[in-house]
Amino acid sequence: MTEPAGTTATDPGDVPVQLLAPDGRRVDHPDFAFTGTDAEIAAHLRDMVLTRRIDTEATALQRKGELGLWPPLLGQEAAQIGSARATRDPDLVVPSYREHGVAWCLGVDPIDLLGTFRGTDMVDWPSRPDGFHLYSFVIGTQTLHGVGMAMALQREHRVGNDDAAANGAVVVYFGDGATSQGDVNEAFVFAASANAPVVFFCQNNQYAISEPTSLQSRIPLYRRAAGFGFPGVRVDGNDVLAVQAVTTWALERARRGGGPVLVEAFTYRMGAHTTSDDPSKYRTRDEEGEWGARDPIARVKAYLLSVGAIDQAWLDDLAAESEALAERLRAGCLALPEPLLADQWSNVYATTPDRLVRQREEYLAYEASFAEEAR
């Protein structure tokens, strides 16, 4: 008897969709195309450069003792910018905890992101737009939330309308490690069952902390979608054009009522899992070098320079803007206000119940009963 099919054989889909090669050449793909202008690509480059600067500055702030922890996104800029720029109102975006680039695209002030990691704030941010959910630190839990939101869009009749602009979908972010969680698989089941308008955007950065993807799955992750009954696409996660093209297709399909899609953005976490992690303990310099050659920013820069869409002056301006942003971030981090006791009652209920209002008053009165703190 022969092995059942589908467990070991390779599939044409295993080759990630790519529209911009690491050397900066545009390449064609039979199914997907990037239709934007070079000016839009330059805007993506700016997003990616600024996001990387935010990330390095936050990492440095942690190293200076100003943040308790930081999960760096280094290397994943294209996956985040390309997918986030495919969203539009009334889409809902549900991040994990490393989506600093997505947060940037949706308009979250990066200083606000730091509060949680500095321990001065809960997980919500003053500048968060309604369509962008909170960071979720529990692995994979947000996929279920995202599917729930997608099912809510269905009930609000915001899916499959003739007026395409009125339709919305959910994009929910998670990592390769999360695919080993029950939550993610349950989310797949519910999404398929409800034909919910949700795009599962998996950034396969090759490691669940120290555990390589090869230990987690015997098949490419995108192929798992077939078992749940919806399409999966593997895209070069370091190619911002391909990511945007694939995510745009998936979101449009979901908005029309076509149901869920799994997008596996094949990328690499160039940094540590978090600032508490030391990746040199579980991966080789050779491997890091190999992926370094596929840098998401370098290829966009090479392309834009080659077609003359940008020049050195443009890049110098961007560098200056980056430094100014970093400085704003440094100062803003140190100036983050200390949390107030009353804050812990502020973010739980839209309308705080009487019982908790009384509790808050009691606590505040108790706090006020102390003499001023000598500083």
Binding site: A272, D278, A371
Partner: protein, 459 residues
């Protein structure tokens, strides 16, 4: 001039080793230039500079282990270099000696963010209403204007002085089960000499300390010649003495097997009642109530012999003793006036008394003046026994374990065998004060109430 203090580069780390310095005194550095590489318990980490300027001093040598929060480098303007700056470590040691190289006793607690808790500064703010109680120095009322004096010096106080002033008492290190043993035995862990790994306190250490101190209990001497010798003292000595004394009393025992299915149903009903919320409702409370009701009919069970006047004494109240197995040994605290309590009050009293007995917190008054005792050996899975009355009491009632058993119910042609909850109730009494009829009648009354609690209305 700025000082960069060693941050916690991981989560909750206390110290790090300086692997190598990437800058030297006199170098000009920009923000985010790499200053040094450190190694923590988790990883090798490069630390970027928070400040721009000239390196004025390097305060920790390569290879040194430095506590999180200790200053490691000074960065400032070149002209600040000549200013005489006292080293934060000691005045004479010079910058070559790293300051506050991690001492054995942790001066700062691990925190997730920043430099860890400041040692010695965690004094509580005074309550406003307690100003009168505060020592004079602290009772200065808060002033609206900033105080003109006590401007803190720009440089931190010498570390030595600070440490000496606030030397925190080391927190005893013991696992939770060991802490439980210490609590049960009433032993202050701070007084126990640790012998466990890493200076931890073991259960044996606690037991040894309990034996050496005033607390009695299971103090065990070092085994010798294959024997253990347990000093006879405290609760154990008391049991030895009172049980010996009870041998002088002629005792008789009677027992009865009771179908307590209805009592178990009653307990289920009570558990669902709001007023019993939070209480542990057990058959023991119902037994206690039944005993009190039965004693009203046969008060001799609640009597004692007064040898001095050669009289039988019949107290009006039942001070109901409940035998409790505690870590210190057998204790029989009693509930005063149990006969005047309803079932809810009795349940509350039992809930209050038994845990306190186990924790050794029963007030002495609750341990004397008992008039009648019940003992629940059922909790050990035992069916029955012949208990010995407490000294100075006429009787003791013993409850066996409640088991599901085949039981004959119904009469005539409806007679059948059903699984029921069954329990053996035993009474041992002082046959000088209680005769066989009284004892049997008491036992029958208790049995009646337990088999059909509604009949308590007849009592």
């Amino acid at each position: 001039m700025n000082e960069f203090k060693l941050p916690d580069p991981g989560e909750g780390l206390l110290e790090a080793d300086i692997v190598s310095w990437k800058v030297a005194v006199g170098d000009t550095v920009a923000v985010n230039d790499i200053l040094l590489e450190i190694e923590t318990a988790k990883s090798l980490v490069e630390l970027p500079s928070p400040y721009a300027g000239v390196v004025l001093a390097i305060l920790a040598d390569e290879g040194a282990t430095v506590e999180v929060g200790a200053p490691i480098i000074r960065i400032g303007r070149p002209d600040e270099a000549s200013a005489s700056v006292p080293s934060p470590s000691t005045s004479g040691a010079g910058p070559a000696t790293p300051p506050a190289v991690a001492p054995a006793s942790p001066a700062s607690e691990a925190l997730l963010v920043g430099y860890g808790a400041k040692s010695g500064t965690a004094t509580r703010r005074p309550r406003k209403g307690q100003v009168a109680d505060a020592p004079p120095a602290a009772s200065v009322p808060a002033v609206a204007e900033p105080a003109p004096v006590t401007v803190p010096p720009a440089e931190p106080a010498p570390a030595q002085g600070a440490v000496a002033a606030v030397e925190p008492a080391p927190v005893p290190r013991a696992k939770p089960p060991v802490r439980r043993v210490a609590r049960d035995l009433g032993v202050d862990l701070a007084t126990v000499a640790p012998t466990g790994p890493g200076g931890t306190i073991t259960a044996d250490d606690v037991v040894a300390a309990a034996g050496g101190g005033s607390a009695p209990a299971r103090a065990v001497s070092v085994p010798q010649d294959g024997e253990r010798r347990v000093p006879l003292k405290g609760v154990r000595r008391q049991m030895f003495r009172s049980m010996t004394a009870s041998l002088a009393v002629p005792q008789a025992t009677a027992f009865v097997e009771v179908d307590v299915t209805a009592t178990m149903q009653l307990i289920d009903t009570l558990k669902r009642r709001r007023d019993f919320t939070g209480l542990r409702v057990s058959p023991l409370a119902v037994f206690a109530k039944a005993a009190c009701l039965a004693i009203e009919r046969v008060p001799e069970l609640n009597s004692r012999y007064d040898a001095a006047s050669d009289e039988i004494v019949l107290p009006q109240d039942v001070n109901l003793g409940i035998a409790a197995a505690t870590p210190r040994g057998l204790l029989v605290p009693n509930i005063k006036g149990a006969n005047r309590m309803n079932l809810l009050e009795l349940t509350r009293a039992v809930n209050d008394l038994v845990p306190r007995a186990r924790e050794g917190k029963v007030p002495p008054a609750a341990l004397s003046g008992g008039t009648f005792t019940i003992t629940n050996i059922g909790v050990f899975g035992v069916d029955g026994g012949t208990p010995i009355p407490n000294e100075g009491e006429a009787a003791i009632m013993c409850l066996g374990t409640i088991r599901r058993k085949p039981w004959v119910v119904g009469t005539g042609e409806h007679e059948r065998i059903e699984p029921r909850s069954v329990c053996t109730v035993t009474i041992t009494f002082d046959h000088r004060l209680v005769d066989g009829e009284m004892g049997s009648k008491f036992l029958a009354d208790v049995s009646t109430i337990m088999s059909d609690p509604a009949l308590a209305l007849l009592f």
